[in-house]
Symmetry: C2
Subunit: 188 residues, 2 copies
Amino acid sequence: MGRWEPNAQERLQHAAMTLFLERGYTEVTVAEIAERAGVTKRTFFNHFTDKREVLFAGAPAFEDRVVQYLAEADDGLDAIDAAVMALTRAGTDLLANYVEYADVRRKVIAASPELHERNLIKMSSLAAAITRALDTHRESSRAAAFAAQAAVTVFTAAYDDWTEDTTAEFDALMQESLTCLRKAVHPI
Amino acid sequence: MGRWEPNAQERLQHAAMTLFLERGYTEVTVAEIAERAGVTKRTFFNHFTDKREVLFAGAPAFEDRVVQYLAEADDGLDAIDAAVMALTRAGTDLLANYVEYADVRRKVIAASPELHERNLIKMSSLAAAITRALDTHRESSRAAAFAAQAAVTVFTAAYDDWTEDTTAEFDALMQESLTCLRKAVHPI
DNA sequence: GTCTATAGGGCGATAGAC
DNA sequence: GTCTATCGCCCTATAGAC
């Protein structure tokens, strides 16, 4: 393969996902991923800070988009509703591109504790970003953190539902999930 | 130091905590921790599956205790209240022994993304255990998962508060935290 | 692009407790 | 003797330094 084939990053992601699915995360080396993508190991670490990051390349963009939607939210909304709305919109945007990969990605992450761990810190980072965005003009820091954490929990559940049935409407899944959380937290 | 000094595991934990505080997690090698504890690197890995685990040795016992308290809980309690009760009791038990280490441990974990990540997966595992315990006789799986996740969020916040003021009553912090979460999730 | 330190583990030998 | 904890040696892969 030539030295300057385009889209090295995407090729690396695709190669990694395929290999992880075939043989499991720990059984695949970075050198193998790089080889399959037609680049060197050095290039891999140029694009991703560590081996796990190859499956989370979309996360920063997603987080930015959530924060952006949140900034545009109606000030009259409650914090949690604003956060859920931002996650719903950003999720809908992103999921459209991920239909084919979502299930594989889910399986690979579920099969590896290391990837599960990395996924959790991405969600934690997302919650922190939402907290900051809410915090500035809407809520006390503590209340904002709880609203953000709850919204991310709702998102995680809805995202899991969606990967099991990618034909479902994401915003409906988010609303169901939110309703269920509210019942669980505030039983009457 | 002789080969059979007792309590190798505790010595390793103490050595690790001290060194991490002095120089930061990434700057300390497993070999150094082992040396300070008077054992070899190999022995370190006999006690802990990886470098991070040395700071989370108490987690399984805590989780077991939470599940135990949950099994003894009044069936009339709502899931989230039962979970918060179990976490409150297990937390109170455990925190009594950790007064001196809590602050150091907190600082060390906060200073290292890798340890933060590991802490998150421990909390995730705790939430999963609570979900299973609730699930069996009380709630739908989804509702149980939300109640468990919410209770763990409450616990995390209360634990953070407690490390900043170890004279506070832990159960009061838990109740405050729960009230705040409820307001954030169900604003009216 | 090359080099190196460190994480992490496999395996068998060994030192002590019982 | 058995059983368990520790150790020594050797190896690979990650990750970062140069």
